[in-house]
Structure formats: C-alpha cells, structure tokens
C-alpha cells in the first residue's frame, strides 16, 4: 500500500511532513545570536532566528551565511557562533543524538532516553579520546583549547560513522 498515485512522489518527501521528531539541544559555551547592532529590528531578528532554526542541511546553512554577509555585512562572532551551533545541531540530528553539551570538563553526546527495561544502548567503541557510555559518548573538553569547536564536529561525524556501520546499525535498543 505504498502506492503514490497522481502526484509526484518527490513532493511527498517535503520537509513540512517531517515527523514530529525530538528536538536536539546544543549547549556549548559560546556567545551566540544576532546582535542588535547587526540587525536592529527585533521582528526581523526573530524572523531570521526562525529561518535559521528551520534550515534542513549544510548547503542551506552555507547559503544563508553568504546571504547574511551580502545583506548585513561581515558576520560578527556571535552570528558566526550561531551558524556553528546550527551546524552541530544538523550533524547531531543525523547521528540520532538528542543533545550535545558540556558537563564538568567533558563534552557529552547523548542519545534519546532508554526505555525503563533497557540497561544500555551497547554503543560501539570509537577510539581516540571518545569513550562510549550506556547511552552517550563522552570526551574531554578544554574551554581554552582553540580547536575545541572542530573537535566536537569531528567527534559527531565519528559517532555517526560508528553507529551506521553494517551489523551494528540495529544496535540501538536491544
């Protein structure tokens, strides 16, 4: 009964129909946002926030950054950070994570909560400084490390690769 009659199949995949999935929380020590000195009007800022949050993939995000530069001038740090935050969110979404945050000198990459009956997600090891826990990956986090932003992105990519590996794919909840 998967028939799609009459209408273009491609249209069905439209984002408006995305499942009501869980929200990804990104909580990193970065000042982010659109300063009023950059976009003075509050309503415009609100609309822009909603537009950024609605971005579906990296290409769209890059295009938006270019558009910002064209319209409002060079990106201030806070806006740059906002785009970074979105990039983390998009990657985390793909990897099936529910949050990316910092807890006591550790970056934590958490999956959706497990049902009560389930003890562990049996996450596959990744190696390097990333350790697998019951329902999350962790890695050391140093605020002063100038490269921590890249490290976080790399970690999420590695997590996604690890859990997508054939055979382990179904490892989710056992």
């Amino acid at each position: 009964m998967k028939q799609v009659s009459g209408l273009e199949k491609a249209e069905l995949a439209l984002d408006d129909l995305r499942e009501v999935s869980m929200a990804v929380a990104v909580d990193l020590p970065l000042a982010s946002g659109i300063p009023s000195s950059y976009v003075p009007d509050q309503q415009t800022r609100l609309n822009l926030y909603r537009r950024i949050a609605d971005v579906k993939d990296q290409a769209e995000l890059d295009a938006l950054a270019t558009e910002f530069e064209d319209r409002f001038g060079a990106l201030p740090d806070m806006v740059r950070n906002l785009f970074y935050q979105m990039k983390v969110k998009l990657l985390a979404q793909e990897a099936g994570l529910i949050s990316v945050g910092v807890e006591n000198d550790q970056a934590v990459f958490r999956f959706p909560p497990l049902p009560e009956s389930v003890e562990t997600r049996n996450l596959p090891p990744i190696g390097g400084s990333i350790r697998a826990g019951k329902n999350a990956y962790r890695m050391p986090f140093l605020r002063d490390d100038p490269h921590w932003q890249d490290a976080i992105l790399e970690a999420i990519v590695a997590i996604q690769a690890a859990i997508r590996e054939p055979g382990i794919e179904k490892s989710g909840v056992q």
């Binding site: 009659s5 129909l17 929380a25 509050q42 309503q43």
Partner: protein, 969 residues
C-alpha cells in the same frame, strides 16, 4: 510583408511623417478608426525616435492600449502614467503601483533635461489617461534639482545621504521591499529608486562609497554590480519642501498637498522635451471626459467644504481642460480622432473594417483561400493561433502565404495599399467574435522578504511548541548563562509560567491557528496535559487516515467506466474557450481526463478560488462524458449557483447537440416532472441542480459523471450518499476553499487533488476607501453605482440591527431597492433574495458576511462594509473579492465607527487592505490563515475540536505521520 511596412508604404503616412519631422503644420484630426490607431502610433514612434505622450480618455483604455501596443512595438519603451485612485479633493493613499508608474514616466522624460546625462537608447512612449495628465505634479525644476547621481568611490557621508533621501520622500524601513524605501544597517544602505526595476545596496567604507550593487528584493541577494545610480524623488511632493504646512509629526505630507506646496500648476506636459510629440486618442471625446471630471470635482469641492473637511481656500489640485489645451498648443500635438469634423483624412480612408465570421470557421477558411489565391498579404493574430494554423495547413493553398501570430488584439482591419492590393489584419474579433482582448498580467513592484513566511508571529501571538504546547509568545530575551550571552524566545504558559526556547530550536514553534479564530487555552507546563492532548489527536488522525485509505482501496478494486479519448468535438469545444487557459487549469484538465479514461472510478478534488476557472474544467469533463453517451449530474449547494452554472453550460455548449437542464425551486412542479421524466429516459445529457437531484424520484438512465460543487456545504446524509457513489461513477468535486500545501501533501495519494492557484488575467484593482462612517459617502457610492446600472453589497454584520440599518439606508437613498440577506433567515427566503439580486431586481443587498465566499455577481461592483475594523484581514480580502470581477471599475468602502476610534490592530488591518497590493507579508499571512480554516472544513466538523487543541500546523504534521503509519502498518 510586415504590417508596419504596409502602413509605411502609404503615401499619406509618408506625408504625415515628413510634416512632423519638418515641423510643418499638421492636420487637426486624422479621423482614424480605433484599431488602426495603435499600429500607426507604433510606426510613428519607430520612425520619429522622439519621446511620445499618448493621451486617452480613461484608465481602462490606457491599460488596453498598453497591452496592445506591446504587440506592435518594443515593450520596454512603453510607460504608463496612471491617474491616482482618489478623486480630486479626496485625501487618500495613492498606492505604491500608481506612485511608481507615475515617477517612472516622469523620470523617463526628465532625463532629457539633465545636462550631460546620456540620452536613453530608446525614446519612451508614455500612455496617460486624461485625469492623470490633469493631476498636478512636482514642478520639473524641483524634480531635477533633487535628483542626484551617485558613483562608486565617491566621498559622501551615509548620514547625509539618509537625511537627503527623507527630504525627497523616501521612507526609512527595516527591509526594503517596495520602491520608495531605504534601509540602513551598519555601513550598508539599501534604496529602491522608483524608476529602477530593482533596489540597490551600497556599502560604505567610512565616508567612501565602496560598492553599488543591485539586489533582488525577494531574496535580498546581490544580482549585479553597477558603477553609478541616479536617485530621483520618491514622491511627487517633497517632504523637505512641505515644512511650512506644519503637519503633525505622524502625518507626512502626501500628494494631497501638492497644490499647497507648489503654487504653480504643473503637469506631465511640462516634462516633455522640445523635441517630442503629444498624440491624442480622440480630442472631442477627451474634451467631454475632461468637462465631466471638472464638474464632478467642483461638486465634490463644494460638498467637502460644506462638510468642513476641506479648507475654503484650498487651491485647485488639477489643470482645467482649458489649461491643458493651452499647454498642448505650445507643444507639437496630433489628434488621431475626428476633431476637424470634416472629411476623413486620406490616411483614415485607407483603413476599413474587415469581414466578420463569428466563429463559423468554414466560411472563414474559404475567405482565406480566396485571399491566398489572389496573393493578398494577410496576417492573422489570434489567441488560438496554433490551432488555426494547423487547420489552415490542411487547406491546401500554399500555407505560408498567410502569416500567423500569437496575440490578442481588440480588432483588425483591411488596408488599401493600391488599387488591387489590400493588406488584411484578422483578429479574434473578426474570426470568433470575441470582443475583449485578454489583459496581460503586470508585475507588481512589491516583494516579499525571504523571511516573509516566518513573519507570522510576533510578541503577543499564540504559538504552539511541539513538546510543550500552546502558549503566548512574549518576545526575544537576552540571558547570560555561565558567563555566556545568549538569546531566547520566551513563551508564557498557564499560570504565567515561562519557557525559554534557545534560538536554534525556534523551529519547534509555530503560530497557533485554530478552526474558529478564537483564542486558545494555554497549556499547563509540567504534568501530562500536553502529552495526553497530543495522544488524543494522534488517535483521531489515525482514524481519518484509516477512513481515507479504506475508501481508497475500495476504489482501487472497483470497476467503473473507462471513457474514450477526446473526440474532434471535444477539441472544437475547447478551442472556443474565449480565454487562454492558465497552466494550472491545463494540468487539472489533463488530470481529470486521465482519471476518466481509466476503468477505476475517478474521485478527484479540484481546488481553486472563485473565478479561477474550475467551471471550465467541469464543463470539459461533462462534455467528454456526454460524448460517450453518458449522463452527467452536477450538484450545487444553492439555487443561485445552480442558475449560474446552468447559464454558463448552456452558453458554452450552445453550438453542440447537448441537452442541459436544471432542477431547482425556480422550476415549476410541472417543469420539474418533465425534466425528471426526460432524465430517466436519457434525453437530458447534463442535469444541474441542488440537493433536489438526490431525491429518490430522480433517476438517470446512464449516469457516468457526478460533479459536486462545494461538498462541505451539503449535509451528513448527502455526504454518505456521495460516498457510495464514489465507488460506482466518476466523481469530480469542486471547492473554492483554498487548501494548504501541507494538508494537500498529507492527503496526496489517498485523495487525488488538482489545485488551480493561478488567478486569471489581472482584474482592475478595486479602489478602496477607508475612514469613519459617512452617510454622505454611502449615498454617493450607492448613487454612483446605480447610475451606471450596477449593484451594491452593503455588509452589516449584526442581524439584530439589520432592519434598522435598512431604514437608515432607505432614507439615505430612497430610490434604491434594498434586500436583506443573513444566515438566520429560512432557506427559502434567503434563496429568493439572492435570486432577486442576481436577477437585478434588487439594487442593494444588505447582508451579513455570508457573502464572503463563492458568490460571483459581475454586476455588483460596489462594496460597502460597516464596521470594517471588526473583521479579520482574511475576511476583509474575501469580502473585497466579491467585487471587481467584471470589466467595470469596482469600489470598496470599509468604514469604521463614526466616533469611536478603532483598535490599533483594526486600523492596521484596514490600512493593509487599503494599500491594495496582493503581495507583502500581511497578505500572505491572511491567506494562510484562510487556507488553514478552509482545511478544517475539508476534514469535516468532527475534526474541529482536535484541530483546536493542537493548532493546524501540528495537526497536519500528525496527520501525515498517522497516514504513513496506517499505510505501513
């Protein structure tokens, strides 16, 4: 032979051209027939290469000229100089489009007066109705003095520039989306010069202009870099020069004040360079129109002074006819009409009307054969060009001797080139007898920002958070957490609890839209309330999805009738459609036919606003069914609509042996009996009617297609009836309710849907007036409409005082026949009133908002709305959509309470509607609300409670998920 060449080969034309070039005196009136004037004008423009001003009597003619001239000459040289919407002495908004077009025209002429400025590569041809020419404008000297050229690398302070721009009428905004606006962000300035097609962005480095680049207002992205920009005034009255008026701060000087700011009366005629030519469509006619305008203005002036809304010494805001003639005489001008009252000129005598065929193609092609044999040069310009050409190619006579061109002209002619030689121009008027050429659509210079679709909520709006429920959006707030500054969206829930949503999660929020427009109850944070609500809705949508799928699978296995491919008659019928089908319409027609040709019974929903051409789709489907010997039933919710469809079908099918009948209360019992009998015997091919059609005594001999108009307006029992029919015969359902794209997609696959989104060729904009209730204006509006033989809608949305309102109106306009219509009347009485109104037995329909959708009465062209500020924006648009459907200029008056000031929101809504643009955030948000509400209707009243509990956005998302799980599960 090219058509303009034919005109150029005339001796009389060559003489005229010589006289014009040499500055010799020219004849006072050429006396040309109307259809010959425009090709002549185009030839003159090309040969003279001078700026031309063409003056017509009224706006309608000017617009038609603009469309038709585009066929004869380079469209990019054409300018329209429109008249302002308000009458002289009326203080109301001019409108963005009017302003832009007028300033465009003025600029195209003013550049000839700039020293050292390069001449445009093409001379402009400006088309202006007389009242536009009479309207006083900014003196040319001030226009030029206040125009400045900006160049890249120029040293200039951005602050100084902004002050200057305000002084010449530009408005500071946050994002530039309309001509006449500018915006500043840091070192960036955006400006939209009215004479430019695109706005321009300038980036400064300190006080140096670093770059100049055009950008697309819709994406706000750069399109191209430029080196220089001419900045011309954005208004015809410059705020910098209006200081002495001492207007209040919030009321900037608008064009109403032109005569007070500029004592010397100036018109567009002053902008014409010495080397130019004014062409007058028809001087005698113009004169009578000019006098009429003056009389009306004198009267309005007197009334306004009496009423105390106009100062007694207010200067005259226009040039009188006498002054216009004086001005014309100081310029070179030519009248194409018959102002000399003598013998027609030799040029005029060369043209004659062509033969007429009224759609009889056989004699038409015989005539073409004859022309072909005699080798007479012939050009055919038609909207049905490809079809005519195909038919002609079958005729045998060397096909390429006759030239075919796609186009829409009002009329053709034959032109005598020599004793034996005639040039024939044949148009749809001669061939088919179609009178009105298709107006072309115009691009409106108002854009939506890329954020427009996100502009639907602001502080104070009700919003839905997918995970937390319904709350009120408070605004953006900054919070410092862990020494890091961040911004949040703050939402207030029940008991004043607040939720802070990080900006990167803003996509969890959507505006709350319920089915009724009433305020929702906020959710309680913490606890299971929201979770349970969502669960309930999830179960409800599963049921909906299951129902749809059941019907769908029943239909999959059902066997119906497979109709044959199109017959030649089908092609004839379709070719006789006097408009060009929109793309959506063609797609819908193709989809319907494909469904019909399949053995599986069709069940297609066709969505499109009133006037978008659904009936034509239904008509073609019906005809196709009849061609296979099947009968067609068309069910409509009201008698009035039955009558409307009946007339359309009869008219369109007149040339074919198809029996169309109607069953409704307007048929006597004897007539009804007869129609029922003939239907049962199979003598009636198409039967149109109300629910009367569903009564057991109505039987069909061989029903093949059922068309249901506005299904949601039928009762539950009727709908059950339809459900059964759906698995037996082909069913086409029409609805004027717009359907949101998201819902359309959630239903795609289980419900076949065709959508017609393209409006038909643009109608004349409705002249919209807003202000406090004025009995004088009401009387004036009604009398003006009745004088031209039209009818009036008067909306008064309170049933309890509607009788009192009737007495008030009757006293104001004793000569008008007034009828009342509201939803609490019994159906019979209501149908009777509506019938009388469509039949013209009533002049003024005093009604509640029941008229807001579906009604199409082309003769009603004035709408008056009492307490307009109490309506929502979407409703206001729908109400105004009732008028302006015919060829007549339509008027809409939205009054607020005489003394009570409106709420700020109410006033804002009225202002949006008065702006008269179909674009912009306000409009699209209103339309989206409307769609959402319509979707509720489509899903049935049982779903309303569920929709209300989570809002439409979330409901459709859940429906899509539900459907997917039913399908896989």
């Amino acid at each position: 032979m090219k058509i303009l060449e034919a005109i150029r080969s005339l001796k009389a034309y060559q003489r005229l051209l010589e006289d014009l070039r040499a500055g010799h005196p020219i004849p006072t009136g050429l006396g040309l027939m109307r259809p010959a004037r425009l090709p002549l004008l185009a030839a003159l423009w090309e040969d003279l290469d001078l700026p031309l001003l063409f003056i017509t009597d009224r706006t309608d003619r000017a617009m038609a000229v603009l469309d038709e001239l585009a066929f004869w000459m380079d469209r990019s040289a054409l300018q329209i100089y429109p008249e302002p919407n308000p009458l002289f002495y009326e203080q109301a908004a001019w409108g963005t489009v009017t302003r832009r077009d007028r300033l465009n025209s003025l600029t195209s002429l003013a550049v000839y007066h700039f020293l050292g400025s390069p001449r445009p590569s093409k001379a402009p041809l400006v088309i202006a109705p007389l009242r536009a020419v009479m309207t006083r404008t900014l003196p040319r000297r001030d226009f030029i003095k206040n125009s400045k050229i900006l160049k890249v690398n120029q040293k200039i302070s951005p602050e100084y520039l902004q002050r200057q721009w305000m002084g010449i009428g530009y408005q500071p905004v946050d994002i530039v989306v309309e001509p006449g606006q500018f915006a500043q962000r840091g070192g960036i300035l955006d400006i939209w010069v009215p004479a430019e097609n695109l706005p321009v962005r300038m980036e400064f480095f300190g006080d140096e202009l670093d770059t100049l680049r055009r950008f697309d207002p819709a994406t706000q992205r750069t399109v191209e870099k430029i080196e220089r920009l001419l900045i011309t005034p954005a208004r015809e009255v410059l705020p910098a020069q209006a200081g002495h008026l001492n207007l209040p701060e919030d009321q900037p000087a608008d064009e109403f004040y032109i005569p007070m700011v500029y004592p010397l009366p100036t018109s567009i005629l002053d902008y014409l360079p010495t080397q130019s030519l004014v062409v007058v469509d028809d001087l005698l006619y113009l004169q009578s129109v000019g006098n009429e305008i003056e009389e009306q203005s004198v009267k309005l002036r007197r009334e306004s002074i009496q009423e105390g809304i106009l100062a007694e010494n207010f200067p005259i805001p226009y040039l009188t006819w006498g002054e216009i003639i004086d001005e014309l005489n100081s310029l070179r001008w030519l009248d194409l009409g018959q102002s000399n009252g003598e013998e027609p000129s030799p040029l005029a005598e060369s043209f004659q009307s062509g033969p007429r065929y009224g759609g009889r193609l056989k004699p038409f092609f015989e005539f073409l054969q004859e022309l072909c044999r005699k080798e007479q040069p012939t050009l055919i310009v038609s909207r049905q060009m490809s079809r005519l050409k195909a038919l002609w190619n079958e005729q045998g006579c060397s096909p390429d001797r006759i030239q075919f061109m796609e186009g829409s002209l009002s009329e053709g002619w034959q032109l005598k080139i020599s004793a034996e030689k005639q040039f024939y121009l044949l148009t749809d008027s001669e061939i088919f007898g179609w009178e009105r050429p298709q107006p072309r659509s115009r691009v409106r210079p108002v854009a939506e920002t890329p954020e427009a679709m996100y502009a639907d909520f602001k502080p104070g709006s009700w919003v839905v958070h997918v995970d937390y429920g319904i709350g009120k959006f408070i605004g953006l707030v900054q919070r410092v957490l862990d020494g890091v500054e961040r911004e949040f969206l703050c939402i207030e829930y029940a008991d004043g609890d607040q939720l802070f949503v990080p900006v990167h999660q803003a996509d969890r929020l959507s505006r709350y839209i319920g089915p009724s427009g009433e305020a929702p109850t906020p959710t309680r944070l913490g606890g299971n309330e929201w979770h349970n609500t969502r669960q309930r809705v999830r179960e409800a949508v599963l049921e909906v999805a299951q129902d749809l799928l059941d019907l769908y699978s029943r239909r999959q296995v059902a066997q119906g009738f497979a109709f044959s491919p199109d017959t030649p008659w089908q092609h004839d019928l379709e070719a006789s459609f006097p408009y060009v089908e929109t793309e959506d319409q063609l797609k819908a027609i193709a989809e319907v036919k494909r469904d019909m040709e399949r053995p599986r019974p069709m069940d297609r929903l066709l969505c499109g606003d009133v006037g978008y051409g659904k009936t034509e789709v239904a008509l073609r489907a019906a005809f196709k069914a009849v061609m296979d010997g099947k009968q067609v039933a068309m069910l409509v919710p009201t008698t009035v609509l039955a009558q409307q469809h009946y007339e359309t079908f009869r008219q369109r099918l007149a040339a074919f042996p198809v029996e169309v009948e109607m069953l409704s209360r307007f048929r006597s019992p004897r007539e009804q009996d007869e129609i029922i009998l003939r239907t049962a015997m199979g003598e009636v091919d198409i039967l149109i009617g109300t629910h009367r059609l569903l009564q057991p005594d109505v039987t069909f001999k061989d029903l093949g297609l059922l068309i249901i108009d506005e299904e949601q307006r039928f009762g539950v029992t009727h709908k059950e009836h339809f459900k059964k029919l759906r698995t037996e015969v082909d069913v086409l359902t029409l609805t004027a309710t717009p359907i949101p794209r998201t819902l359309y997609m959630a239903l795609a696959g289980v419900r076949d849907i065709s959508v017609i989104n393209t409006p038909p060729a643009e109608r004349l904009p409705v002249i919209t007036h807003i202000g406090p209730y004025s009995p004088r204006l009401v009387r004036q509006a009604i009398v003006r409409e009745l004088e031209r033989g039209g009818q009036v809608f008067f909306v008064h949305n309170r049933v309890h005082s509607i009788e009192a309102m009737k007495r008030h109106l009757q006293k104001l306009v004793p000569e008008a026949r007034i009828g009342i219509a509201h939803g609490q009347m019994d159906e019979g009485a209501l149908a009777q009133v509506m019938h009388d109104f469509t039949r013209g037995k009533i002049d003024v329909l005093l009604c509640t908002s029941i008229i807001e959708s579906g009604l199409d009465i082309p003769n009603a062209n004035t709408l008056i709305v009492d307490r307009g500020d109490a309506f929502g924006l979407a409703q206001l648009y729908q109400l105004r959509g009732r008028v302006g459907r015919g060829a007549q200029r339509a008027y809409a008056y939205f009054f607020r309470h005489r003394r009570k000031p409106p709420t700020p929101e109410g006033q804002e809504r009225l202002e949006v509607i008065a702006e008269n643009t179909q674009l912009g955030a306000g409009y699209s948000i209103a339309m989206r609300d409307l769609e959402m509400r319509g979707a509720g209707e489509l899903l049935g009243t049982r779903q309303h409670g569920f929709i209300a509990s989570v809002g439409f956005h979330l409901y459709t998302r859940l429906l899509a998920t539900g459907r997917a799980s039913v399908e896989t599960g």
